[in-house]
Symmetry: C2
Subunit: 513 residues, 2 copies
């Protein structure tokens, strides 16, 4: 695979018969190579171009970028020069920032690293940060935090491969609307105030230096566009990565997290919405819930005859807690073997002495204190289960509402993309069993992991996708989720396991009582 | 007249039903107003845009520029804000720099000023300066000289109208290729070395700040393109100003100076050449020759019967010397009344005692020492006349060669534009009489003055001309003047008064002997 971002060219030599200027000679060759319109050359490059061309005998590698005005040149190197020409894809998360270093010549991924967003010191949630940015000092502070951290991580990541950050010529940044605003030093205050207006939907390809990034002096930074305050570039990147935008048949993309962000569509149209799915899905709500990590329960099986629990922990260490995917597994297994009823209540007869009442609330011991790493019982309460059920019901209701808006039902889908780190770990059988996602054939489900980073990297692989990103941005209709009677009816029906209408989930077979 | 550079817009207010971002809302309104493609907004503007829009209730004046990628926004002001929005046209001459301040809203000229190019301290001619720029320090020095002087003059010119240089949002610069390179800080060394390659033919619209210019922080600078080392943006601007590029019928444009720069063509094609016409035409060669100024002879008439000379001086002061146009007038009058023969030699019998032999060379006293301001005779030598004749022959030969290259003769022309300050003062009857320019009807001649400045100002009047400049640049074929046998034959024939073939100049009636 070769990417158009790096072009090796042997220019015709200047002569009395062809006295075209250096820059225009280069541009002409690139235009005919790329079939492109005009190609921009910045003043800084013009200042060094004559020497580079003559030293290289007009045999050069040219590094390109794209802007909405067309192609531009970010750097020119002698063809013989073996210096790497790199790209940096960035998933600019509110909590975690992930970088992927790629070879810009062929799009090959070289290395990846991540770090906690240093803005966490200001506030874990984006709302606190936006308020912090109410003063210009606060806004500058937040920008400096993320830019400094990016520079540091970028330098370290490059160093780990024996290259330099100045070898990076093109960066792509996918993040939510507030994060990209803070990163670009744009005032985010109107994002959270009615009617929720970002400063910009489609940023241009800015100069890295103008953003304070220590990449190559000519480097450019493409920031993924958003379609509003609540649907950011990370999701546009996710769509690009999934390929939903190219499919004939309608598919759905779900980015599962504290918010469920959902896109339904095909190559011709897309509708999107975002809704609070509740923290239960990320494992943050249950008393024993926690983020995935060593010793965290991520898979659960229950022998329907003996009710024996077979738990699996990350790195197979003594159990410390349970993460979202483990919780879904647990709830599904409890339900399937009759320990939870269709309302999600513990069935006392089936749970036996695993059930303990604490403060008037039923708790099911999942891991005995003798086995747990904490020395205490790891248990799940009825409240934890109720919370999970509200979350899964919200998720299913969002899916139902979105599909209904185009006259479809969730089960009509033939492709279901699950994005997000968390999404990668969900066992679809379990998620179907509790009625969180529709009862599709398993091969309809495709987990795509960090699709924001994936999309950011894709654009570094192939320049043709640049325009596709804008096409995606332009073809999405954002559906405001109105919590109206329809929605509430759907939500109530979805609060059963798997659903008040079990015919929607024919594959879910409960242990006969 | 209104120019598209400044657009007053009342944007639709953001609402929950239309949450388009601020920048994209502005861009959408501009796109529909201008029928344009995408419109670029720089990061600096994005950083202040939300406050400007809200303070102005989304009723704004938007200042635009054009680049080859399309339109861009250089500034946004509240519609109520009465601050002027200005443009600055610059004729960046090797010797003299002329500025014209214009109102960008309607293209109206407000004020003009000029100053000596401070690079003169390095060298009066461009060659010396290019050698000075061989070192990076020298190149930087030359750039700083011109940029500092431009900033100073721009500030003074603005102050004289009670406005500020920061009110200038768009500048257009027309200069020869070497001057524009020095101005932009581009290495000019290859301009004067075979095969004479500029760094760039078509510069983009750079940011004023990147060029060190103290205009508005968002201001843009359009530098006219060149078609090579010897045909610069000043001439492209001149073509634009003449309107030759729009005519059905083929016309010619001559910029007369030390070099004669000539363009022949119409709306479909243009050919151009530049040739040394010799310094005689600028009055620099004759012993009594000088630049136009107070007391300089600019018009001469001779009574054919009495041989009485009637001279006119600038500001009607006692005569100090003669300028180019005066010299052409003098030579024509001497020839028409028989004091010069067709070879341009003084006719002793006709010149009488005005003729004096000094060092074996004939001198004709034009102004007696009793009348001259210098206290000495102002005289013209045979060598001065010979030099003038070589110059006028070179000029005519260039015209003949250029027209012949497309199967025309100079007399086929119906429109003859004379550009350049010097050109403005030539009496066409006299120039025809000596055979310097073809024997066309007088109303075919049109003097257009400083066409470089004129063209630079035109583009500030109407944005549609932006693309026309590139069209002109792209439709010119540069004709290398080969001093071959054909050329020498033509030159020899043109060294007579008016020509060896008098049938080419039927209107020239010599006093019967």
């Amino acid at each position: 695979m070769t990417s158009a971002w790096v072009q090796t060219l042997k220019l015709s030599l200047p002569s009395l018969k062809d006295n075209t200027a250096d820059a225009d000679r280069l541009i002409q060759a690139l235009k005919s190579r790329l079939g492109a319109g005009d190609i921009a050359v910045n003043l800084d490059l013009l200042r060094v171009l004559p020497d580079i061309l003559r030293d290289a005998d007009y045999h050069i590698r040219c590094v390109l970028y794209k802007d909405r005005g067309g192609w531009g040149i970010s750097g020119v190197l002698p063809a013989e020069d073996q210096a790497p020409v790199l790209g940096m894809a960035v998933d600019l998360g509110t909590t975690r920032v992930v970088l992927r270093l790629v070879d810009l010549a062929d799009g090959r991924a070289l290395e990846e690293s991540s770090f906690d967003n240093p803005q966490l010191e200001v506030g874990p949630d984006i709302l606190t940060r936006i308020h912090h940015a109410d003063s210009q000092e606060g806004q500058n502070h937040l920008q400096k935090l993320i830019v400094d951290a990016l520079n540091k991580e970028m330098a370290a990541l490059c160093a780990s491969r024996g290259v330099a950050a100045t070898d990076v010529y093109l960066m792509s940044i996918a993040g939510n609307t507030a994060m990209t605003h803070l990163f670009m030093g744009l005032n985010p205050r109107w994002i959270i105030r009615e009617p929720y207006i970002p400063v910009v939907n489609r940023p241009v390809t800015h100069r890295a230096s103008q953003l304070g990034l220590c990449a190559n002096p000519g480097a450019r930074v493409f920031v993924f566009p958003n379609i509003g305050s609540y649907f950011g570039g990370d999701l546009i990147a996710g769509i690009l990565y999934s390929g939903l935008n190219l499919r004939e048949k309608t598919a759905i993309l779900v980015d599962v997290g504290t918010n469920a962000e959902v896109v339904l569509g095909n190559k011709n149209w897309m509708i999107a919405c975002a809704g609070a799915a509740g923290p239960a899905l990320e494992g943050g709500a249950a008393r024993m819930g926690m983020m995935a990590g060593p010793g965290v329960i991520d898979r659960v099986a229950i022998n329907p005859d003996t009710f024996q629990m077979d738990i699996h922990t990350i790195e197979e260490l003594p159990p410390v807690g349970i993460c979202g995917s483990g919780l879904i597994d647990l709830a599904a297994q409890l339900f399937l073997c009759g320990m939870l009823d269709i309302r999600g209540k513990f069935v006392v007869s089936a749970c036996g002495d695993r059930l303990k009442e604490i403060d008037g609330l039923n708790h099911l011991v999942v891991v005995d204190q003798q086995v747990s790493a904490t020395g205490r019982d790891l248990s799940i309460s009825q409240a934890d289960i109720d919370s999970l059920i509200r979350s899964k019901a919200a998720m299913y209701t969002i899916l139902e509402t979105l599909t209904a808006s185009v006259g479809m039902a969730p089960r009509d889908l033939t492709r279901f993309y699950v994005a997000g780190t968390f999404g990668s770990f969900i066992n679809p059988v379990s998620a179907i069993s509790i009625g969180m996602i529709p009862d599709l054939k398993l091969d309809c489900y495709q987990t795509i992991g960090n699709s924001s980073l994936g999309g950011a990297a894709r654009i570094l692989e192939s320049s043709e996708l640049f325009e596709e990103v804008d096409r995606i941005q332009g073809s999405i209709t954002y559906l405001e989720l109105n919590v109206n009677q329809d929605f509430m009816n759907r939500f109530s029906a979805a609060k059963f396991l798997p659903h008040t209408d079990p015919s929607l989930f024919p594959s879910v077979k409960i242990k006969p009582m």
